[in-house]
């Protein structure tokens, strides 16, 4: 008897949802017809960062938000609960339900997000990526912080320069599946192989610190211990580089560090003398990257660009505006927008930048 009561109640609950659903769907369709006339006002632009609790992601979102709000659009910033593709899928699904006009995603995994991005595109949403790309068939364009080759070139040149042209170096990366880091490391390796200039450099190991301070510390210490002749560590990840910088500086090690890091995190360790572990490092401006994604979102939504290579769009007061979409090197015909070359942070400019990001 009681079971029956339960099941009746359960059905009632479902029915209530259905009813709520009917009401909900009709009101949302009204909303979209009302907004069709406007340009950016009434449009909603979303950004999905890699995860919550990371200042780099925060700065990206900040730049994005600034551009969208200045243009009169509504901006949604979503930081997934953890840095996994799974958490991003949940968030993107929810944005599809809300019927936003565009979604800019900094992908945690290139493959796993493909199907949800496709679903968003099928729902008429403009999907673009920034920072890390997804499968290029499932998005309109990709706002690339710097060309993969350029980053690889800058890093290998830095290693070459700091090591004095020869010797052993090691790489301390993020996780083994971090798309960007893997691409940059591959680029470094291929540049090193193709150019005689780097033949005296030897890459001894690629270690993975999983973007955890403790594991990065363990890995750095292991590198120092396993390779006594090591000259340079290259850490192309913000958590890894600051953990490694601390280890090297605390130990007053002769091994030097370079890579990609946030100036605010690294100010303590950058310096030309022996008391500092990192002579110089690189990064781009995450705020600008967010801004670029913001302008690209607006351009995609109002039809200025379609995501085809060759399209151009204005990006307000940004340095290299107008930007042109270029074709990806992999021959897929998909496009990307390159922000600019990576920026070098050295003892001369670190003071100026450390308070900005």
């Amino acid at each position: 008897m009681k079971k029956k009561v339960l099941s009746v109640l359960m059905c009632a609950a479902l029915a209530a949802t259905m009813l709520a659903g009917c009401g909900g769907s009709s009101s949302s369709s009204e909303g979209s017809t009302g907004a069709a006339g406007g340009d950016t006002s009434g449009k909603t632009y979303a950004i999905v960062t890699k995860s919550a609790g990371n200042p780099y992601n925060e700065k990206e979102a900040e730049g994005f938000q600034e551009v969208i709000e200045a243009a009169g659009g509504t901006c949604i910033v979503q930081n997934p609960e953890s840095a996994t593709a799974d958490a991003q899928i949940t968030v993107i699904q929810s944005l599809i339900s809300q019927g936003v006009d565009s979604i800019a995603i900094a992908a945690n995994d290139a493959n796993a997000l493909a199907s949800v991005c496709q679903e968003a595109m099928d729902a008429g949403i403009q999907v673009l990526t920034l920072d890390s790309d997804v499968n290029s068939a499932t998005r309109k364009t990709f706002c690339n912080q710097a060309g993969v080759q350029e980053v690889g070139q800058a890093l290998i040149d830095a290693v070459y320069d700091i090591a004095g042209g020869e010797g052993q170096y090691a790489i301390l990366s993020a996780t083994s599946q971090a798309t960007n880091q893997n691409a940059w490391i591959e680029a470094m390796k291929s540049i090193q192989e193709s150019d005689e200039k780097y033949s005296k450099l030897e890459l001894v190991e690629v270690a993975y610190g999983d973007d955890e301070p403790q594991k990065s510390t363990d890995q750095t210490q292991a590198l120092l211990q396993n390779y006594p002749d090591l000259k340079v560590i290259c850490a192309p990840t913000t958590v890894g580089i600051s953990a490694a910088a601390k280890v090297l500086q605390d130990q007053k090690s002769s091994v030097k560090l370079t890579g990609l890091g946030l100036p605010s995190e690294m100010a303590e360790y950058i310096g030309a003398d022996d008391a500092h572990s990192c002579p110089y490092m690189f990064l781009w401006n995450p705020i600008d990257l967010g801004k670029l994604a913001g302008y690209a979102s607006i351009a995609l939504v109002d039809g200025t660009i379609t995501g085809a290579a060759g399209d151009t769009f204005e990006a307000g007061d940004m340095e290299n505006s107008p930007y042109t979409l270029t074709e990806l090197a992999d021959g897929s015909g998909a496009s990307e927008i390159i922000l600019g070359p990576p920026f070098q942070f050295n003892p001369d400019n670190i003071e100026e930048w450390k308070s900005i990001y």
Partner: protein
């Protein structure tokens, strides 16, 4: 009727457990309705179409709820399921990329899941001194470790043949296939737990393992079976996740174990064993899913959602304890 259900076997100090459980499930249903109304008021997009569209990931998780309920009723715990999901999805993906058909993928996913579950069950029944928490903690690291090795550099794989696996994404109208599987599982598992001797044995073992052993219940065989079952269901979850994301990576299924356990506990299944009912867990799962979807649609801070779920979890287990205390105080006053 309640006598048959087997719940009365559970070790409870006072009578009236029947009423308590009934009212708990009743309260859960009221809460589910409230959550839905709340969602509909908060978000204009909270409707059946969107809920069903967003649900497949959560539904895959609910598969494991049924197996976990068995394990918890037994007084055991399994925190390796998230890793089993990761391993099965990985293996399924790799097999598919080797050019095998969807049949092989399904077989591999379910088979790998079953094997993982059997390994847990084997260690748990051969080394009964070990708490299952520590066993599954070890296998949790191992299963994900195997997936990491199999995925190799890059730690992520995508399916090249997404056509054939598409049948698992099939929908009847707006309702995804996995929804029907959840319903079928619910019917089977609720019936088994409430209407069969097997179900009653589970409660008996959970209430007092030694007594159960001496009354002739094949304790270890049932535990082995339950762990294998949960592994199988985790494989099913991995299969459907694979079908919905067309790929697997090293973080697939991260944290699922805690989410599934939370659903069970919220539904009134005690981790100490011998208590609770799958119906409660089933309704609780939908409450959490609906709540997450509703909060997601109003773009609430994702971490704040976790805080709210944490508070709900603690409050939900505190309520029975507090009401119990009040009731017994009333009783002693009357006496």
């Amino acid at each position: 009727m309640a006598g048959k259900s087997g719940r009365t076997i559970s070790a409870t100090p006072q009578g009236g457990i029947k009423e308590k459980i009934f009212s708990w499930e009743g309260a859960l249903i009221l809460l589910l309705i409230a959550v839905n109304i709340f969602g509909a008021v908060l978000s204009p997009n909270y409707n059946m179409t969107n809920i069903l569209r967003e649900s497949p990931r959560y539904l895959a998780e609910i598969f494991m709820l049924f197996g976990m309920a068995f394990i918890l009723v037994l007084g055991d715990i399994d925190i390796s399921v998230g890793s089993i999901v990761c391993l099965t999805a990985t293996m399924g993906c790799l097999v598919s990329n080797k050019g095998m058909g969807v049949g092989a993928v399904i077989l591999v996913c379910l088979g790998v899941g079953l094997l993982c579950g059997m390994l847990n069950g084997f260690v748990a029944t051969k080394f009964t001194e070990l708490p299952t928490m520590i066993i599954t903690l070890g296998t949790q690291i191992i299963f994900r470790g195997i997936a990491e090795v199999a995925l190799g550099d890059g730690g992520s794989a995508s399916m090249t043949d997404i056509q054939s696996i598409g049948i698992l994404r099939a929908k009847v109208g707006p309702v995804p296939l996995s929804f029907f599987i959840v319903i079928i599982c619910a019917i089977i598992f609720i019936t088994v737990l409430n209407k069969t001797t097997f179900g009653r044995k589970l409660y008996a073992i959970g209430s007092n393992r030694t007594t159960a052993y001496y009354t002739g219940i094949e304790v270890q065989r049932i535990r082995f079976f339950s762990f294998s079952m949960l592994g199988f269901l985790a494989g099913l979850c991995g299969l459907f996740l694979l079908a919905s994301t067309y790929g697997a990576n090293t973080t697939t299924g991260n944290g699922f174990e805690m989410e599934v356990i939370a659903m069970c506990v919220f539904g009134g299944i005690a981790t100490t064993g011998g208590k609770g009912n799958i119906i409660g867990g089933f309704i609780a799962a939908f409450i959490i899913v609906c709540l997450r979807i509703a909060f997601g649609q109003i773009n609430m801070n994702t971490q704040l959602i976790l805080v709210i779920i944490g508070v709900m979890l603690i409050v939900s287990v505190l309520i029975p304890a507090v009401t119990n205390a009040i009731n017994s105080r009333k009783k002693t006053k009357k006496a």
